[in-house]
């Protein structure tokens, strides 16, 4: 009997496992499911609110709002300024965006729609004087201006963005990682995709760089961008590069452990990132669900370069979409326009950057998968 036991244990001894990596994967999965469960509860609550709101409006206004409410002959200034919508029924639906508004159908984050996080970030940065507003193309300015204000919060903690053209902000190590991960061409393209984030407006806090690219497995990099990387950050970076050389996720499925950030969780749809401290943020629309290319276009728009007629056209359509949403909420017309814009953005991307590695991934497929 002991012989069987010993031989069995001897045989199994040859198996070497990455216990630490597995522990990270387990924690990441459990945390993501907890987020999803909470999001499900919030979604139900929101749905209840929408139904209750529709009922109340049907009482006060005679019927629930439906269909596009941009009426022929409506005053243009009214459409241009979402705040004039405040006294109209559509406001409620604007305040409670539903998943169908988002580029990502399963997204139940507080704000829906592609690039809206970037829009708000740009506005805020412009307001703080840290962003060259005047250099932005007028079409981009109009787009930002069409977005109503809202406050991004997670767990009640405010955060701040700064959006900028980033090459000078990226350390050689980060650039090398981007190149090794995304390929040289996409790395070059990623100059338009990178957003630096400084949380809480605290000058001493760690900056992060987010490289949104659709190459590889719904890849998001969350990397320290500060020129003086902490020892831990350097370790993480080295680990990230090491993991990347395998060309696969350590667990074979968890994106959150890709770069070995123990406290980091990256989700396919709304990206929650925690690093060094239990603070995070949701960058809506900057996901694998179709937001990154739009965000790239926005970045191009604020970079100060001359935009092509195609780019201007797309930006103008985005403005139209924001107005449509402001006036009619989650209408079928808005959804169709959103899809149309995304198709055009994809065409724009392909024209400028070529087909990327993940073009087989459906732009509107389930998020986080």
């Amino acid at each position: 009997m002991d012989d069987v036991r010993d031989r069995l244990q001897d045989g199994l001894r040859a198996i070497d496992l990455d216990v630490e990596g597995a522990l990270i994967a387990v924690h990441t999965t459990a945390r993501r499911r907890a987020h999803r469960r909470r999001a499900g509860v919030i979604g139900l609550a929101l749905a209840s609110c929408v139904i209750a709101g529709a009922f109340l409006f049907s009482v006060f206004y005679g019927s629930a709002p439906s269909g596009p409410s941009i009426m022929p002959g409506a005053p243009p200034d009214r459409l241009a300024d979402p705040t004039t919508c405040a006294n109209r029924p559509c406001t409620v639906f604007r305040s409670f965006p539903v998943g169908s508004l988002s580029a990502c159908p399963t997204d139940v984050s507080p704000v829906g729609g592609f690039g809206r996080g970037a829009l708000a970030a740009g506005k805020r940065a412009a307001a703080s004087g840290s962003w060259p507003w005047d250099a932005a193309h007028p079409a981009t300015q109009a787009l930002f201006a069409s977005e109503s204000d809202y406050t991004e919060r997670l767990d009640g903690k405010p955060f701040d963005f700064s959006v900028m053209s980033i090459p000078q902000r990226v350390t050689p190590a980060v650039q090398a990682l981007v190149e090794s991960t995304c390929g040289r061409e996409l790395a070059a393209a990623s100059r338009d995709l990178v957003m630096t984030v400084r949380r809480g407006g605290d000058e001493t806090s760690l900056d992060l760089v987010f490289v949104g690219t659709r190459a590889g497995p719904r890849l998001w990099l969350a990397l320290p961008a500060a020129s003086e990387l902490s020892e831990r950050a350097q370790g993480d970076l080295a680990e990230a590069q090491r993991q990347n050389t395998r060309g696969t996720l350590p667990s074979g499925r968890e994106i959150g452990v890709l770069f070995g950030f123990p406290e980091q969780e990256v989700r396919g749809c709304s990206d929650f990132v925690e690093y060094d401290e239990p603070r995070g943020f949701c960058m809506d629309g900057w996901s694998g669900g179709g937001g990154s290319r739009e965000a790239a276009l926005l970045a191009a728009g604020i970079s100060g370069r001359t935009l092509t007629s195609q780019e201007v056209g797309i930006l103008e359509e985005m403005v139209a979409l924001q107005r449509l949403r402001a006036s009619s909420g989650a209408s079928a017309e808005a959804a169709e326009l959103e899809r149309e814009i995304s198709r055009e953005v994809d065409a724009w991307w392909e024209l400028n950057y070529g087909k990327s590695a993940d073009d087989d991934v459906p732009a509107y497929g389930p998020c986080g998968t």
Partner: protein
């Protein structure tokens, strides 16, 4: 009751043993890792309750076995002849080839294999195994005895 301070400590102590146990029950180290990790995720979600149990690892093992059964049922439903098990070849294939005893154990009937793995790989006592499997300690001993006979017969 076993003293289990935190989930992380518990995981680090038991993960490797569990993967190896599941590996004997399945046929691929990748599958074993997946099943074991999923079992630990469920354990983590119920950790406050699981840590109070007499045998937390027993709970995780049962969970892993249930997950494995579900996986097999799913495979059979899809009528996929060799999806992840059977002749599946992964990075551990070379190691697997050297582990004759593992392959012999894997050919045992499920009930015997289960008792053998719990006892020999997870190092549980007969009473603990009996409690986990919901059978009498004598039945555990019987299964292990029959497993040994089968193994000896096949090696002879």
């Amino acid at each position: 009751m076993v003293s289990v301070p935190t989930f992380d400590v518990f995981f680090e102590r038991e993960y490797e043993r569990l993967v190896k146990a599941v590996y004997v029950m399945t046929s691929s180290i990748t599958e074993a890792e997946d099943v074991a990790q999923e079992a630990f995720v469920r354990c983590l979600e119920r950790w406050e309750r699981v840590r109070q149990m007499d045998s937390p690892i027993g709970y995780v093992f049962r969970t892993a076995m249930n997950l494995n059964r579900k996986r097999i049922r799913s495979i059979l439903r899809r009528r996929d002849p060799e999806p992840q098990g059977g002749a599946f070849v992964d990075g551990m294939h070379a190691v697997d080839e050297r582990i004759d005893i593992v392959r012999l154990v894997r050919d045992l009937p499920f009930a015997q294999r289960e008792a053998l793995v719990l006892t020999f790989v997870l190092g549980m006592t007969t009473d603990e195994v009996a409690a986990i499997l919901g059978i009498a300690p004598g039945s555990v001993r019987g299964r292990i005895h029959r497993a040994r006979q089968t193994l000896q017969g096949r090696e002879a």
